[in-house]
Symmetry: D3
Subunit: 312 residues, 6 copies
Amino acid sequence: MTGSIVTLGEVMALFLTADARPLGMATDFRLDVAGAEATVAIGLARLGHHAVYLGRLGDDPLGAQIVRTMRGHGVDVTGLQLVPDGPTGLLVRDAPVDRPISVRYYRSGSAAGTVCPDDIPPPLVESAALVHLTGITSALSDSAHATVLHVLRLAREAGVLVSFDPNVRLTLAPPTRWRAIFEEVVPWCDIVLTGADDARVVTDGDPAAWFLDRGAKTVVVKDGAKGAYETDGTTVTQAPARQAVVVDPVGAGDAFAAGWLGGWLRGLPPEQRLREACVVAALAIGAPGDIAGLPDDRVVQAVLAGEGDVTR
Amino acid sequence: MTGSIVTLGEVMALFLTADARPLGMATDFRLDVAGAEATVAIGLARLGHHAVYLGRLGDDPLGAQIVRTMRGHGVDVTGLQLVPDGPTGLLVRDAPVDRPISVRYYRSGSAAGTVCPDDIPPPLVESAALVHLTGITSALSDSAHATVLHVLRLAREAGVLVSFDPNVRLTLAPPTRWRAIFEEVVPWCDIVLTGADDARVVTDGDPAAWFLDRGAKTVVVKDGAKGAYETDGTTVTQAPARQAVVVDPVGAGDAFAAGWLGGWLRGLPPEQRLREACVVAALAIGAPGDIAGLPDDRVVQAVLAGEGDVTR
Amino acid sequence: MTGSIVTLGEVMALFLTADARPLGMATDFRLDVAGAEATVAIGLARLGHHAVYLGRLGDDPLGAQIVRTMRGHGVDVTGLQLVPDGPTGLLVRDAPVDRPISVRYYRSGSAAGTVCPDDIPPPLVESAALVHLTGITSALSDSAHATVLHVLRLAREAGVLVSFDPNVRLTLAPPTRWRAIFEEVVPWCDIVLTGADDARVVTDGDPAAWFLDRGAKTVVVKDGAKGAYETDGTTVTQAPARQAVVVDPVGAGDAFAAGWLGGWLRGLPPEQRLREACVVAALAIGAPGDIAGLPDDRVVQAVLAGEGDVTR
Amino acid sequence: MTGSIVTLGEVMALFLTADARPLGMATDFRLDVAGAEATVAIGLARLGHHAVYLGRLGDDPLGAQIVRTMRGHGVDVTGLQLVPDGPTGLLVRDAPVDRPISVRYYRSGSAAGTVCPDDIPPPLVESAALVHLTGITSALSDSAHATVLHVLRLAREAGVLVSFDPNVRLTLAPPTRWRAIFEEVVPWCDIVLTGADDARVVTDGDPAAWFLDRGAKTVVVKDGAKGAYETDGTTVTQAPARQAVVVDPVGAGDAFAAGWLGGWLRGLPPEQRLREACVVAALAIGAPGDIAGLPDDRVVQAVLAGEGDVTR
Amino acid sequence: MTGSIVTLGEVMALFLTADARPLGMATDFRLDVAGAEATVAIGLARLGHHAVYLGRLGDDPLGAQIVRTMRGHGVDVTGLQLVPDGPTGLLVRDAPVDRPISVRYYRSGSAAGTVCPDDIPPPLVESAALVHLTGITSALSDSAHATVLHVLRLAREAGVLVSFDPNVRLTLAPPTRWRAIFEEVVPWCDIVLTGADDARVVTDGDPAAWFLDRGAKTVVVKDGAKGAYETDGTTVTQAPARQAVVVDPVGAGDAFAAGWLGGWLRGLPPEQRLREACVVAALAIGAPGDIAGLPDDRVVQAVLAGEGDVTR
Amino acid sequence: MTGSIVTLGEVMALFLTADARPLGMATDFRLDVAGAEATVAIGLARLGHHAVYLGRLGDDPLGAQIVRTMRGHGVDVTGLQLVPDGPTGLLVRDAPVDRPISVRYYRSGSAAGTVCPDDIPPPLVESAALVHLTGITSALSDSAHATVLHVLRLAREAGVLVSFDPNVRLTLAPPTRWRAIFEEVVPWCDIVLTGADDARVVTDGDPAAWFLDRGAKTVVVKDGAKGAYETDGTTVTQAPARQAVVVDPVGAGDAFAAGWLGGWLRGLPPEQRLREACVVAALAIGAPGDIAGLPDDRVVQAVLAGEGDVTR
Ligand SMILES: Nc1ncnc2c1ncn2[C@@H]1O[C@H](COP(=O)(O)OP(=O)(O)O)[C@@H](O)[C@H]1O
Ligand SMILES: Nc1ncnc2c1ncn2[C@@H]1O[C@H](COP(=O)(O)OP(=O)(O)O)[C@@H](O)[C@H]1O
Ligand SMILES: Nc1ncnc2c1ncn2[C@@H]1O[C@H](COP(=O)(O)OP(=O)(O)O)[C@@H](O)[C@H]1O
Ligand SMILES: Nc1ncnc2c1ncn2[C@@H]1O[C@H](COP(=O)(O)OP(=O)(O)O)[C@@H](O)[C@H]1O
Ligand SMILES: Nc1ncnc2c1ncn2[C@@H]1O[C@H](COP(=O)(O)OP(=O)(O)O)[C@@H](O)[C@H]1O
Ligand SMILES: Nc1ncnc2c1ncn2[C@@H]1O[C@H](COP(=O)(O)OP(=O)(O)O)[C@@H](O)[C@H]1O
């Protein structure tokens, strides 16, 4: 429907607790798929866009499940490789009620971190409407960071716009490393979508200003239940979060990104794309895991139109 | 305890999602029983009334389960027939959090629609204290509609009062057909219980007036979280909804009807029967499916008395 | 790896009991995908072949799930259409231990039966290595049967080989109709794979002879726990079934067909393709549903090589 | 279809482990209904007979569930009372693979044991075709034993035949007590169905002789996987067990009794009623719990006719 | 980390409904551990204290599971005996949404009530920092009450402080008996933690005064969603409840007690120990059952510090 | 009851598929505990022995669950440390029917591999009746191997006997490394228990001879469904496997080892300890996971005595 979006990173098998028991007390788990870029890609595919996912996975049953899930949702995974060099990364997590969430990653030595510039088919990047990257990929390994830089260069040369979400994970690297990554990557980016918390790694001042100063043309700041705003340095557009009962807050920011980028690709003005992004995020946090709640466009439009709860 | 209530319609097997995942993402389902009139019948039986359910089901394992469930709850199913003419109707549905509900019906060609006037044992109707009907049955098929008219005639001849709930299902028929049904049926009815939304199919004005104009003596208007009111054209009695956390809103109106009709059968004044109806409805939406939350009278009275949460 | 296989038919949502309770007593169900041709297509895709699935599904959440599952397994569904003309077909089934299986279909009026010759993109058929069809599709509706004949003509004109499995379903049509279908369809087919029971609809004598007489070049007869044999009218090659604990026998024949056709596409001699087919079938019946047990080639080869149970 | 069968005893809530973990390691349980006489009553009702169940249950949610289950299956529970004198009895049990089963009863002080002769409506007994009793009821309490004797007297006076199953439970009483019960009760009984093991409480010799000596006219001896035989003292008729994969062996004897008594009520000759009884028992042990596997007559006849596994 | 806490009572197997269906409609249950003193002991052990649990359990699989759970959480169960004199007590309960909770106990004749003074190893009591008792144990049986008095005497002689929670259970004894217990026990106690409701059994006036008058030095009054306060007769310190979504309110008071006693043992001032107690209680009611939500100290401190929801 | 057994190694969180779907198709998982030495330790503890487990775990929720499980079963974990140096190791596995099992380990960089000689409290080893080690620990890391050698020295100096199970895991190291480990370790060992397959890593000849040649006094060779034998170089004692339906074969060898070592500690002669070992192993493979089926001594004796299936 619109040009394609290319993204890249580590998508993992998620073992999610199946009830409200916290991780230290849980016995039943459900397998799901997780990863910031994969959530954005699946979110965009569900909304009807052509999303391309690049990178590596272990050539094992969990890797096969992930490929099946992404391809099932319509993500183009022809450039995603199953390699024997390491296992598919994995995380274990709970989603308790009113209690800090516990997450443990098993991604050290995983296949995803072995991604390298040669894995990237240049035409896929060059023909895209947008490339979306996150800080996580740079923090995975040196070769993953090199791959990010390689993609940035390909995109710039081909005049393809780039969006970036810091997506800070302090278990992967210390704040200094994150700051270094941002200083290196942001100048290549046109759009930055950042969580208000993540932005605090670089500044306690105005987060938008920090990214605009380094070259971003549009900065979107997501701020949980408070909603989000975007700015091009001149105008600020604000949107309240959509009222929601939270089943599983993880992935809200990536769902929001999918909604926002989808709106941006369709040429919606700031107010509308922020509103759609808030709807997508609110629907995402009403279901367990990062993926199950991602809506298709029909559901988004029904919610925006305030349609009744049941059609029958 | 009071005279019997006779009802009639299509009761179906409900495949309900087992967690908060929306229908398009769900893998686990729980079998339940659904159908507006069946919910009213079971609701009344649980409250201690003698409810009689007429109609047809497929002579198959799902039909057998439905009979077992209804009979188990004490509904008199001696007049409900298992026939080989078609399968038991079925619906598939989710109950997601903060998201429009998806329902799909598999009732075309089902056994229930083959019901005909000869299926109705006249004495069961003639000896009843009340006959309860809905618009759905008329919309199922010509022979089902003929059966409704037949029952209305039997009731009128025997001086048995009739209550009616429009229960509009736009997947069964277009608005014009629904209006035609109401114009034909309402003049035979004493009591109308209608959802405020359903009433909008016939009028954007005062819903009670529309039904009173066509002969109803008492009209009860249910309005979701806003509560309900009833009127005989002279006095209007209002009741707020009972504060509730919504687990599954479907069936609220039928649970309300069971509560209201139960109170009416026991001779409660308007204020009290509305209050009991709101309690029954609030309890019903606190459990998954249409049936599991329907309370017995002991629970209703405990809730009305504001008894503590745990007795031990 | 080899040329593509094109198939066509009705793929349905399967509500499968989640434990050993028979359908009339079950409460927990798991959603799966079922349909003879879809099982063959997924089975081939899992084995590494390019399988193309044509036809129609309802434009609804269950249809979306089916597309996601098939696409996830790598089946090419670009020619499978989601249409608003009817719901996605559905079946409800148990898999009890030592007890007849109960199946109920909800496919009357479903979207799949509205398939018509215009739905078939000629190039997909003409470029195929093989077209696989079953009797079920012809039994669905007149337009589905017309579509089958259309595909047969396209294949013959393009010199594409055709395989056919009678797959008799007596709930869809009486034996006379099945016989009529076979008389009309078999002359267009090169390969017939038939269950020994299904063959009895046309003859109590030698099933292979019946099909060979009508033009088939190769006939494969599947006979449950007894195994299978194939013949070209001259040589008969036999293979014993692989010893197996049966978890869910449904779909064994379609899994076998996937295994056999996969071997045939790779040019394996009769003895080897029969042996692989028996392995694929035995693995399929060791898991619930028609799909979950379908192996990839690695598992097939490990089983054939008699590798130990656990590699670690 | 035939005259009614009246039975009496303690029916309990069964908490059954939901997977193969033994009781000492299990965390998930499924609620079911258990009790030797209730299994016979439900078994007969499922086979199409009019079964009447008498006795007492606690007036509590578990008692309500049991009534619902029995009534749902068509058992006449109009004479079963919910009383406030004690809780509904309960048992906790596993069904592990190849391992001794663990059962724990919580029936001391339960409502069922307070049953007394006045609870028995004489007409229900006097109009029956058969009264079925077990040793368990006599072992529950003095008043329960008095009720058994009362029913025996009512039956004899009305010329109603009596069947009896020792059903020894050594957790309820020591062997001497069981022997005393049998010496007192058997002379009132026409038919004795006994497990071979249970019979060993009274004799290591020929079990049939022991019961025939005390007045039984027909003795049926059930012997697990070896099958069963019956004798009237003159002729012995034997039947092998039906080959079966055992999912849960508990309740086999009661299922067998339902099958045998059903056949007896329909006037089947010994060979046929034994064969039906073996089929009913084999189907019962193929499903978890005592009740879920009990077949209706259609399934029994399909199995006897050796019909294929799937009809579709 | 601090001196040990000794407690005593009946710990039971809890069969808890696995979803929002009320007890009378539930089919799936999860086994857990329950008992006021056991919750306090496990709560303290999870917070890092040395908790000693005394008493009796049945020598059966449920008793073994309970021992395993308590020992697993670090409770010292060397003084807890598995005896053949009766079964392990059991309760069945639901945790419905917005509806009165149903609890049924199966503890009559259970092993726990046979506890006697000789079961208490004096050194365990004499070396403790605190003994914690509840009214329940006294209400179980005469010998259990004698054991309570024996422990009180041992504690007083050794100068060990005693805390007491009335924990009224009206199914165990009538109000008069509870009052008698309190009159006898409270004079031996230093600290009383009481639910506001429980206190109403003895006074409708100021609950703290009633207990202070009988010798308590510190009285803590827990008042559900309103929070709690404590007083030594001079100063009153108040704490609001922590805002919480209630998943299962049962056990809140015992979780609070664990938190409060843990703070007291660590020498925290009233305001801080009340605040920690409210956090522990709020976390406990966010998970199903009495135990699963009990936090370790790390979680308590993270919540008090207002740390973000996910660390990653 | 007997002297203590000390063991050492990596115990992991096991995510086990919850139904018969293979790993590549499974969505539901159950958390369990796995690890060869931990299974032996828990097996011995369940049989009533004092088992001591040494080593390291991550200081995280999965580590806490493992400690809770082991301590719950009565294993002495006072010497098992939770450290911040790495996560708790994890494995993901299925247990399909008639199909090769898939296992994936996530143990690289895990806390267990950081174990070092200083972690071993000498008195725990010196006071033991037996030290049990496996080849796995040596293959984890250099420091883990050093710890094994340290323990071997401590044991020899204190005159404590040592048993050893090769437990080859080819994902941890190549065959040459395993051979090197055995050459280094076996001379320190008195008892070797080896799977017949594992022994093939060192010899295709007589496995017992290979180990006896290197100093072992007793060699036990486990051979799956064929059973096991032991020899001291002079006498060979053989035992058939106990007939069993296999639910999950993994852990059979470790369960066997627990049974054999338990018998050896109690001074049973070869024939009897082999027979007990086969019973323990057969019970273990009848339940999912490595731990759930491990019996206590009562169950072992009941099975050996051929006691009936249900006691009630
Ligand atoms: N509690 C909530 N209620 C409603 N919407 C929310 C809530 N939390 C997050 N959202 C939505 O998700 C968006 C992103 O959430 P945020 O937590 O800022 O993302 P991130 O995961 O990147 O930190 C918010 O802008 C808002 O639209
Ligand atoms: N969110 C809610 N909270 C509390 N009560 C509700 C809620 N929704 C419905 N109810 C109760 O159920 C009754 C019927 O609901 P309504 O949605 O009007 O019925 P219908 O299903 O016929 O549309 C209302 O009058 C009210 O008492
Ligand atoms: N009980 C069984 N054990 C092992 N293999 C079986 C069993 N049942 C079927 N199969 C395999 O599946 C193949 C097809 O089975 P069949 O029942 O003949 O198919 P259909 O489903 O077409 O009737 C058989 O040839 C055999 O290889
Ligand atoms: N393993 C089995 N396989 C097949 N049928 C069985 C098996 N066990 C029991 N049955 C059937 O159930 C009947 C009663 O079983 P039995 O164990 O003797 O009953 P009880 O429960 O009274 O001891 C047997 O006669 C047989 O028909
Ligand atoms: N709904 C609630 N929300 C937040 N905290 C609660 C809630 N209910 C109970 N609590 C906490 O648990 C504590 C004890 O609760 P309460 O119900 O008084 O205990 P009890 O179980 O002894 O009656 C309260 O003081 C409060 O801190
Ligand atoms: N299929 C089986 N049936 C019965 N017992 C078995 C079976 N498989 C293993 N066992 C028992 O477990 C023991 C150890 O099994 P084995 O597979 O040799 O161990 P390992 O896991 O070390 O390879 C065997 O000696 C036997 O007693």
